[in-house]
């Protein structure tokens, strides 16, 4: 069993209306100098299996076909054996396997 954390965010160069709205709201709270806010999605799941490579391939398929829309979103995920830590949501990026999407070149933040 593996615990998986999937992070989905708007692709670079794709306008992010939510991020823009949050960015406009922060100065009202007295936080100035904040830029490039991107609002994404954090998904956790548990996947049965013993083979980390197979789980990685499965999760990548899930991400490409449903959890993210690769046309407008990037994703990456981390997997760690379940039970390696208590069931709390504590992340262990150091020991986790991390996979990142974006084999294709990113469009440049444009003018």
């Amino acid at each position: 069993m593996f615990r998986v954390s999937v992070y989905v965010s708007p692709k670079k160069g794709v306008a992010d209306p939510q991020g823009a709205a949050v960015e406009r709201a922060l100065p009202a709270l007295g936080h100035s100098g904040v830029r490039n806010i991107r609002v994404g999605r954090y998904i956790t799941l548990e996947v049965e299996g013993d083979d980390a490579e197979k789980v990685k391939a499965d999760v990548d398929d899930m991400c490409r076909r449903l959890l993210a829309n690769p046309i407008i979103e990037d994703y990456f995920f981390e997997i760690a054996p379940a039970g390696s830590e208590s069931s709390s949501a504590k992340r262990q990026p150091s020991s986790a396997v991390s996979e990142r999407s974006g084999a294709e070149p990113q469009p440049r933040e444009g003018t």
Partner: protein, 236 residues
């Protein structure tokens, strides 16, 4: 002349809410025979045109249309479309068609995060298609929009291809037909309001033509789209 009627299969997903409007609008055409399909059906029952109606399929969870795309019936809809069958996606139906990769691009939250519900002018971009043959290029029609995720976008390469191939069906415009940012209700790239597939047999559009099919409801500009489909089937 035979009395053949044009069969419109309207797919109902959990959370669809424009299927009755669509059925009612089609029932005002003497040549149309609308009927409902449930998203778990496997048999499309010999349609001439499949309509994916507006609404909030699966509560818009994850992304609009993302889960409906995997409904059992979508496999049949994709096969029907790949054989050249006519498919019309309205609002949430458009979102489902992009998620299913039957149409280019994706639909994001509206610019300004504002739900828009208003009458909207559209400029007709192309009329040599099964959905628009009753219209004129450059004609301005008025069809209401009612959505939160109508902000269409596509990658730069796709966008160039889409424009080069003339796959844009309608653009948001002002009453005079000027395609401007001020007339854009949601931030859609190039003011795209409706889009054809490569084969021109699929149309996705954010505005709701089924809501302007009777004068008593405020307009009749939507009729030209349904009439075009009927003409295409009866007089190909």
């Amino acid at each position: 002349m035979t009395s053949r009627r044009v069969r419109f299969g309207i797919v109902v997903f959990p959370g669809s809410n424009c299927e009755y409007d669509t059925h009612h609008a089609l029932s005002t055409f003497s040549e149309a025979e609308p009927y409902y399909l449930w998203h778990k059906d496997h048999d499309l029952r010999d349609p001439d045109c499949i309509v994916l109606p507006g609404g909030f399929s699966y509560g818009d969870y994850l992304r609009t249309g993302a889960i409906a795309r995997f409904s059992p019936i979508m496999r049949e809809v994709a096969a029907f479309a790949s054989d050249g069958g006519l498919v019309l996606g309205i609002c949430n139906g458009f979102q489902i068609l992009t998620e299913a990769h039957l149409l280019h691009g994706a639909l994001r939250r509206n610019r300004g995060l504002r739900f828009v519900c208003r009458a909207q002018h559209l400029r007709v971009e192309r009329t040599d298609t099964p959905f628009t043959r009753r219209l004129r290029v450059g004609q301005v029609i008025q069809i209401p929009v009612n959505h939160n995720e109508g902000n269409w976008t596509a990658g730069v390469d796709h966008l160039q291809h889409i424009e080069k191939e003339g796959l844009v069906a309608f653009r948001y415009c002002d009453p005079e037909g000027n395609v401007s940012d001020a007339a854009n209700p949601n931030g859609a790239v190039n003011n795209v309001a409706g889009l054809f597939s490569e084969g021109l047999n699929i149309l996705g559009m954010m505005p709701h033509p089924e809501r302007v099919c009777e004068a008593i409801l405020g307009g009749t500009d939507g009729r030209a789209i349904f009439q075009s489909i009927i003409d295409t089937v009866l007089e190909p």
